[in-house]
């Protein structure tokens, strides 16, 4: 790394600022962010618009700087030397007449691009400075000091429209081919019917009677009807037993069930 050795050299002008800038990059390479940064600082000494900068003069200035550094045995980073080599190449391109056999870019094109790079870097630095000079949040401008917490509430909304409802109903009702609401009870003997019947019969059942003898007429033949009537009558007898109106008796598993009115 280069030591910040004071290096006396004839100042290029008598302008103090210029001299200082010149000395700065001679003495203190550490202060620069690489060759492009150094070139930009050097170009400033030309005191012209970066677009009209003399790249040739700049190249000579840079090569002079590298030469002086070398004489002083200041170790330069590789990229500074790479830039020096490139600028030497550029210088020869700018000074020599163009070689018609060479298809590469002309010296002017290369110089223009370097000038563009320098101008762009300079512009970005200005932009960065302007950005940082803006009012900044937490420094010049402030947000709410006491944000109020927003409570998060998750809610599920179950949706159904009247149309959904009516269609659902229509769907159920049309399963039975539009029959009016009456269930098919041809082969169904309900517990209510059995209860009704049993309530009328128990008055006559002082003795044990087989429950199956109480099945209504017309419900004993067809197996389906018999099954329904048996179930309903049995359920009804349980209900009456619960009410304390009758007593039930069964000798063994699957034996006939007998019933009689409960003695008052």
């Amino acid at each position: 790394m280069a030591d910040p050795i004071p290096f006396q050299e004839d100042p290029p002008g008598d302008h103090a600022g210029e001299r200082r800038a010149d000395e700065t990059f001679i003495v203190d390479v550490d202060g620069f962010e690489g060759p492009l940064d150094l070139l930009l600082a050097m170009s400033r000494t030309q005191k012209v618009d970066l677009r009209r900068i003399s790249v040739l003069a700049l190249a000579e200035q840079y090569l002079g700087f590298v030469e002086r550094a070398r004489r002083l045995r200041i170790e330069l980073a590789a990229d500074y030397l790479v830039m020096a080599a490139w600028l030497a190449f550029l210088k020869s391109r700018l000074l020599l007449p163009p070689d018609p056999a060479d298809a590469g870019p002309s010296g002017e094109e290369l110089a223009a691009h370097l000038a563009f790079q320098l101008e762009r870097l300079s512009a970005m630095r200005d932009a960065a400075a302007r950005l940082m000079a803006r009012d900044q949040l937490g420094r010049d401008v402030f947000a709410r000091g006491v944000p109020e917490d927003v409570t998060l509430v998750r809610r599920i909304e179950w949706g159904a429209s009247l149309l959904d409802l009516m269609q659902a109903y229509a769907r159920i009702r049309t399963r039975d081919e539009f029959r009016p609401y009456a269930l098919d009870r041809v082969s169904v003997y309900t517990m209510e019917e059995a209860l009704e019947r049993l309530r009328g019969l128990i008055g006559f059942a002082g003795q044990w009677v087989d429950l199956m003898s109480w099945l209504p007429d017309g419900w004993t033949g067809d197996p389906e009807r018999r099954r329904s009537a048996t179930a309903a009558t049995f359920a009804a007898s349980l209900e009456l037993a619960r009410e304390g109106r009758i007593e039930l008796r069964q000798g063994e598993l699957f034996a006939p069930i007998s019933v009689r009115a409960r003695p008052q």
Binding site: F142, A143, R144, G145, V146, E148, D149, V150, T151, L152, V153, R154, R155, I156, E157, W158, G159, A160, S161, L162, D164, L165, M166, Q167, A168, Y169, A170, R171, I172, R173, T174, R175, D176, E177, F178, L183, M191, E192, L195, E239
Partner: protein, 224 residues
């Protein structure tokens, strides 16, 4: 505080900002400060000669009826949301879900036949009604328990609620269209209701739904 005895130079040097400016200052301080601010603190932060109490009162009046208010918190002052707008501070995420077919059918039966027992619903639907379906409708407050039926077992009945009427825009269940109107409206002629594939084609009862945990899974129910 500058005493009246102070000389002119000192006066102008410490001249307090105009009251409108002081009001702006109080506004900014109350806004950005994490805790309620006392008058003493305002006095300490504002330029010499300011009168924070007066500025505060102006600000307080300015915010009257606005979305936020200047309120007193103990001995200090703060800006707070107007109480009537507290509901805005709840971020509600609403998830829209369609009722399952089982639920909507059960609901329809209750609406058309109320008061109706569960056994009757099952009889009409031709399929068992799951406890979850009824619970959901109860939870939605679309159905409630009616009187017990005076039959053996004294089964409970279900009826629809005011909220049900409200949701479906009905004055009463008598306003529900009957079969005739449904047919007139084309609701019965259309055999391919969404989700009624089985029923529409041949009256095949839908599969047993009891004890199916996936029942409320809409995607399964609806697409059936």
């Amino acid at each position: 505080m500058t005493a009246p005895a102070d000389d002119d130079r000192e006066q102008s040097l410490f001249e307090a900002p105009p009251m409108a400016e002081q009001e702006r200052m109080v506004e900014a301080i109350l806004f950005a400060t994490a805790e309620p601010v006392t008058i003493a603190e305002l006095l300490g932060r504002m330029p010499h000669g300011s009168e924070p109490l007066e500025a505060l009162n102006l600000l307080r009046r300015r915010y009257e009826g606005r979305g936020v208010r200047v309120v007193r918190v103990g001995a200090a002052w703060a800006i707070r949301t107007a109480p009537d707008l507290g509901f805005l501070m709840r971020k509600e995420t609403v998830e829209q879900r369609k009722l399952s077919r089982a639920a909507i059918e059960t609901l329809a039966i209750i609406a058309y036949h109320q008061p109706v027992t569960r056994a009757e619903i099952e009889e009409i639907r031709g399929v068992a009604v799951s406890r979850g379906t009824v619970d959901q409708l109860l939870e939605l407050d679309w159905i409630r328990f009616g009187r017990r039926r005076m039959t053996p077992g004294r089964p409970v009945t279900y009826v629809v609620t005011e909220r049900f009427l409200d949701h479906f825009g009905l004055e009463s269940t008598r306003d529900l269209p009957g079969l005739k109107e449904l047919r007139a409206a084309g609701l019965l002629d259309n055999r391919s209701y969404p989700g009624s594939l089985g029923a529409g084609e041949g009256g095949e009862p839908p599969p047993e739904e009891e004890d199916q945990p996936g029942m409320f899974d809409q995607d399964q129910e609806v697409g059936r």
